[in-house]
Amino acid sequence: MLAFAPRQKKVPDSINPYETDEPMYRIVSSIFLAENIKKLEIEAPRIAKKRKAGQFIMLRVTSHGERVPLTIAGSDPEKGTITLIVQGMGKSTRELNALEAGNSIADVVGPLGTPSHIENFGTAVSIGGGVGTAIAYPTAVALKEAGNHVITINGARSKELVILEKEMNEVSDEAYITTDDGSYGFHGFVTQKLQELIDSGRKIDYVLAIGPIPMMKAIAEVTRPYGIKTVVSLNPIMVDGTGMCGGCRVTVKDEIKFACVDGPEFDAHEVDFTNLADRNRIYLSEEKESAEGTSHRCHLHMDK
């Protein structure tokens, strides 16, 4: 019979949970942008120097932590820091968001992924849904720098969840906010706002859409009939992020692509979103277990 071990609570209470002598990455600042969404500035000099819009890092909070992929929202090469914007989803991101300035995390590696393809397209619309706004932000900045007329559509469920309003306003020629419940800005979904812009006869040359999979899929359907070039950033489950394990495989134009090296940005009209949504559910029950600690699962220990 397999050995059954009771679940141990490993979530650290103290601020020094690390059992590692590896180099650690210090958190320089840590502030909440909205409920459950935090902006973290972390020391990572090599990455700060190299990163480009559209790239991400992987981090581990503790020495037994998962490798979590997070987009680099910004960087300060002089200070040697990068900025991350993190939504508390499950165990790892909540653990990360519980940390304060002065704490350190075990690992940060990057910049990973292929940088966004940036050029002067003309009029570019950057659409962010929820924490996707944070992922869209650096690319919006780069689009602006390249001379585009930048329109941003920043969607959230309700007013309290709107993030980066000020930052988005700064990089946009036109900035819109949409909320599902109408508590702020346009009442409705980002897709409706985009459709409105298209219907108003505006010439749109490029759309970047980042957010939940159903949102990205819906945007792809809005732009498809007009043949507007549309790019999405995919979030498959990753393990190494370096192009070794094959875990991040996605189907694009009926071909296998690996999001951590070939992406994470792909042509929205070629992505098989249904497959991505299916595959992202594989560890759902396990993740719940990890976050809630409700499990009676047996563990195969390496009882030495």
Binding site: M1, L2, A5, R7, Q8, K10, E22, P23, R46, I47, K50, R60, H64, G65, E66, R67, K91, S92, A106, D107, V108, V109, G110, P111, V239, D240, T242, G243, M244, C245, G246, G247, R249, T251, I256, F258, V261, D272, T274, N275, D278, R279, R281, I282, Y283, S285, E286, E287, E289, S290, G293, S295, R297, C298, H299, L300, H301, M302, D303, K304
Partner: protein, 483 residues
Amino acid sequence: MDAQHITNKERLAIPRQPMPAQDPEVRNKNFREVNLGYTPELARQEALRCIQCKDPICIQGCPVNIKIDEFIKLVAEGDFLGAARKVKEDNVLPAVCGRVCPQEDQCEKACVIGKKHAPVAIGNLERFVADWEREHGEPDLPAIKAATGKKVAVIGSGPAGLSCANDLIRQGHRVVVFEALHELGGVLMYGVPEFRLPKEIVKTEIEGLKKMGVEFQTDVVVGRSVTIDELIEEEGFDAVFIGVGAGLPWFMGIPGENLVGVLAANEFLTRVNLMKAYDFPAGSDTPVFDCRGKNVAVFGGGNTAMDAVRTAKRLGAEHAYIVYRRSEAEMPARVEEIHHAKEEGIEFLLLMNPLEFLGNDRHWLTGVKCIKMELGEPDESGRRRPVPVEGSEFILPLDMAVISIGNGSNPLIKQTTPDIEVSKRDTIIVDINTMATSKENVYAGGDIVTGGATVILAMGAGRTAAKAIHDKLMGTAVNHNEW
């Protein structure tokens, strides 16, 4: 028996000493090492079987030319530490190679007594002396030459990178190893499972290199975090060795491969070995497919496939199958692993070709449709080509499918260093005598050059490159006997 006064006839009368192992029904439920290792008595007994050939051709069977006859003689005499030192003259990772080398195709294949009897168990003895030294010996650091002032970057901390770093540091160069992952060791850490190669052993070997002065930087993806050109031009490295290993896994390209529950062996093994998902959720935050009571099939016949299927069994799979297109004779896995897998209750479906994965309305895997094969005429590689038996299709119910049919090459170096020439398969092209690439002062070796191969070949390549780098940096031809 006395090592000095024993006739060859007496030597040949000793049977090959079997490797003690955990009971199969016990070990297929834990991750502890399967093989328990020789006792000193077994080791000496086995060592006496070596007839100490005048011209020991076994040495030619070993890619790094370990002085096999000499170290075995020391084992027979009971000087285990001396034997370990002898092995280490040519091999930095003997505890690893003794465990994972495909000996039956290398040193032991060449051993003369293998013609009429079982060959000397060279691998088992190598493992024994390395373990003995680790457990009993004073850590005895090899001499390091005076600093040369030269600085070499080694990219990747797998066997190729580690052996290259070892040779270079001994020659007095400064060596910095850059590793993309958070752990050092390459496939030895994330691929080969604990039950075949305890991670403590790899860590101890790497500690040894640290003590000798090799610097390690984890979390650095060369190409992304820093490019090779920047290492040379901005960080002042005089030479670079690329040992980044193989790359992304291949898939079979059959319908249904996108279903939830179909994954690559690299992902499955990385979750379990590197991220310690066997200990989820108590000791690790990384989940792995819950295999308990499930049907799992691994497609392939190499070491990776054996590791994956035996891991699935240990995670509680009810049925753990190997599905392989050819017959057992063609399986590239080490013979010992196939044998161990069978003992552990792995079910082998040989001469079987998957046609299509089947799923339910939620797009989760439910099974695989296979067709039976028979061996036809030999192909270009000399292996008899399997051909389908008409009408023999059947469905195997499955919860998880693990694809293990090989790897391509990681494209990162190619993309970020266009002046390094690569083959059509994206492997780096080198001069096999020096491992020099088309780019000045940049060398490469291991799986990134050969495609998926073996630990010892990767190590051999690392050594060859180290020699060439040393020659180049010092502008001299070294006396290679001193290495």
